[in-house]
Symmetry: C2
Subunit: 130 residues, 2 copies
Amino acid sequence: MSIYGSTNPAPDTSLADGVQRFAAVVELVPEKEREYRELHAEVWSSVQKRIADSKMRNYNIFIAELAGKKYLFSYLEYLGTDIDADKAAMAADPETRRWWTVTDPCQRRIDSTNKGEQWMGLERVFFQLA
Amino acid sequence: MSIYGSTNPAPDTSLADGVQRFAAVVELVPEKEREYRELHAEVWSSVQKRIADSKMRNYNIFIAELAGKKYLFSYLEYLGTDIDADKAAMAADPETRRWWTVTDPCQRRIDSTNKGEQWMGLERVFFQLA
């Protein structure tokens, strides 16, 4: 039941500043929390470079405990014009693939996540740039 | 068990660009989802002005369904230097207070939320600006 308006522009009209904003969620495996935190406190520079090369910036991951489960909530901004191609370039990068072999086991994919994706994309309901 | 590093700067050292980034979560009352979406598609201009006057920008709210419950996730950036004072100014604003009388009933505060707050603040575990 998406409801759009002046403070919730439809995704295809929200590019006044040329930036697309994405949020997503995945469950965190509780026993892997320390490992996940350690990995993300020092993300490999090769992985960081691939993120930047895919035109993603202002990438934040937060942790939340909800109803006894832990979740990771991400927010990032995309400056390009072909997110599918830029995601595919990440997925084809050997260093990023190697990174995912250590980070994926820390996560439990949420059932309703789109096929082929690890994180469940979230719909926006409000936006105020300034 | 916070773990800081080059890609997870401690909150008090993360101000390289002078911006503090905050995320928070609150439960959405399922029966109020349509009302919440309608309100946020056209947030009152008085409320928008107070947000801007409190030096908050790039304010996004997303919706997520997790384990059968609906949640609202917010991400915003704060450009000021006294978040407590700027939040207090919002809480003292008659228009914002009137806004909260319609939005608070759409939300169910999470038990572990800090006293006096409606949204549960989230800890960050990763940050890459560019």
